[in-house]
Symmetry: C2
Subunit: 408 residues, 2 copies
């Protein structure tokens, strides 16, 4: 049976899928490709449509949505699901915002929705969470979920680049968007964490409820401090389950060499899942790029054709409720150019001076950090989680030594 496939969008991911299908099974190429921009140069000599109705109002079996605008993406995906179609999407922002409604549409109209490429690009983490943890109880999920942030951190650590130079390089390599804000401020990660948590825990926490600090405030002195401790800084997304619910937070964290996340470099992503039956499972793979992301779309396509659909076992058939995360206490290193920038955040904790910066090691509640986010942003305050990797005394000692180096 031939499947009539409609594709929305022909950017980096769409082209990756297209190239894979062309080389593997031309019958899985799209019959119709709808794009928005009539003037954009296109790499293939293809017949393109500019009218979404060419897919939505024309008999297609499968719709693949790979555009960047989440509002339009929701229109297309929900229309297709209302026609009972098989749909594939990679739009993390849209999915994180609308999964509750989309799942209802899937159920009501008998279609299916797959979206492996929306989180951790090439890693089959959604499929694994969905079908390999049956009867298991996941207690923790931790990951590196943004390829361009990780690439930037690798450049800071390996090549001593400045943050702005590293961002430029990530853009040149195609790992960061033209406007890299969503990448470096971690917003992209919170969408992914919302999606993964639904599969891992059967709970839906909208992304705007999650404490999210990206790599935008990581300072050269943070890098020097981590190095002096034999550690690295990674942008770590964490979900931890307790009896009362989930705590969730995304922020740069110190990682030690015995942690498999320590070895995740460049555009790679990773997820570490701790569960009762399986212990610690670890997945690592490319988290950005045309072919890795296109490969997940293509795998979804072959799965959709075979009738595969997510089972959402952890929901146990319940309707999705919007929830808030629990407050968590985080042990962090806070630093800024002025003591005044730290004071409102850290309460009674001591401030240390080193390398013309002001430092404090203290325990902060995610709830309070969320309240202070505008000030953190305005004052370029760096917040790095200790992540259980090292004792406070050792860090203080290293900060003092940074100071000696500078002042001595």
């Amino acid at each position: 049976m031939t499947n009539r496939i409609g594709l929305f969008g022909f950017g980096v991911v769409g082209q990756g899928y297209y190239e894979i299908a062309k080389n593997d099974r031309p019958s899985l190429l799209p019959e119709t490709i709808v794009v928005q921009n009539k003037n954009k140069e296109r790499p293939h000599s293809l017949q393109l449509s500019f009218d979404p109705k060419d897919i939505l109002n024309t008999p297609h079996d499968i719709g693949i949505e790979l555009i960047s605008d989440p509002i339009q993406a929701y229109d297309y995906v929900s229309s297709l699901l209302k026609s009972g179609k098989k749909v594939i999407s990679a739009n993390k922002k849209m999915l994180a915002a609308h999964l509750p409604e989309l799942l209802e549409l899937e159920k009501s109209y008998g279609g299916s929705l797959l979206y492996e490429a929306s989180a951790a690009a090439g890693i089959p983490i959604i499929t694994c969470l969905d079908c390999h943890f049956a009867g298991d109880h996941i207690s923790k999920l931790q990951g590196i979920l943004n390829g361009s942030s990780n690439y930037i951190l690798s450049r800071l650590f390996q090549d001593d680049l400045s943050l702005s130079d590293a961002v430029k390089l990530a853009q040149e390599k195609g790992f960061a968007e033209a406007d890299p804000t969503l990448d470096i401020n971690g917003s992209d990660v919170s969408s992914k964490l919302t999606i993964l948590s639904l599969h891992a825990f059967g709970r839906y926490i909208p992304e705007n409820e999650i404490l999210t600090i990206g790599v935008q405030h990581v300072h050269a002195e943070d890098v020097a401090l981590a190095k002096s401790l034999g550690l690295k800084i990674k942008l770590i997304a964490t979900v931890q389950r307790s009896q009362d619910g989930l705590s969730m937070y995304i922020l740069p964290a110190l990682v030690g060499e015995s942690d498999p996340l320590f070895l995740v470099e460049n555009e790679y992503n990773a997820a570490k899942v701790t569960s009762h039956n399986l212990g610690e499972q670890f997945f690592q793979g490319k988290g950005a790029g045309s072919l890795p992301t296109g490969a997940s779309v293509y795998a979804d396509l072959t799965k959709a054709i075979k009738g595969y659909a997510y089972s959402y076992d952890k929901l146990q058939g319940a309707k999705i409720k919007r929830e808030k995360p629990l407050t968590a206490s985080l042990e962090v290193i806070v630093s800024a150019d002025t003591a005044d920038a730290l004071a409102p955040l850290i309460g009674q904790a001591t401030i240390h001076q080193a390398q013309e910066r002001y430092w404090s090691i203290c325990t902060l509640a995610t709830e309070d950090l969320i309240k202070h986010l505008p000030a953190i942003e305005a004052n370029n305050v760096s917040i790095i989680a200790l992540n259980g990797s090292v004792r406070q005394e050792r860090i203080l000692d290293s900060i003092q030594k940074l100071e000696n180096v500078h002042l001595g």
Copy 2:
């Protein structure tokens, strides 16, 4: 719909599956359990059968085969498939030997056969290879596939235990069989590699064609040498694809700290898959134990009920042919108690003396190593692959230093 489930065997893995089902969905507990040994004490107060016909000749929908005898296992699994049943097996020896026939039975009679627990226990590597690499071209697969060997190596490196003490400890912890030979001589790994290669490459290499050296000859001086180089020794299974076919080999190898396999300790397993579209994917999880292995059986059960079957995409619909691996050239460190034990193996390569042992660094063909296996076994010759991790000169230098330590 209720599924009538029949279970063969109630050992470590069977009990793991049973416990998971009992806690999660009692409807997925077996209706019938057939065991062999009437006198064995059983941990649950269950009604057991001793007659396989209670499953084979009685209407069951799903058969789960978790016994150790591969011949009997083949009888049960093939009978069930001939009745068009859904079947789950964890019997790596049986599967590695009989997958070609079993796949034919699956096709002819419309049943299905899943066996995630047969390789790397808790890691969903078979499912991932089967459904996430559609349209991709895997060039290399490398893994740590035996939990007890890896546990033993961790004890040699972390606790300075002797090989025999480490084996005893692995048995006490339940990671090694009562007769640990299949674990420590790597034979268990070759079964797994045969199974994984079918899914990763669409090629069937019977396990007896694969060069297989386990951890049985790893010497305390090998451990000292690796440590002095900042490396570890892991039992690595490798499949490498070239235009002409697959080269495959299993032997202890030096691993450096930038390799994710470096961090795989204790009973954990791992697989590293290199492919055109996805780059390097890495999977790590528990490779032994009642719950991790039982969890893979349970995941298979829930997948089987949903109608999931392996697609064997890489076979592209072709019938399975038995093939031989290509010969590969391996750069190795060979050592033994006498120079005479080395001489027939290493040709013209130089022999060095250190710590009352004789060493040589040379390149050997897998084909030749297979021929010399009886002598390697008889003379307790240690063979460690360099695995691209370090230059010969540095190793020679370290061997000389071992010598100095000893003689100085």
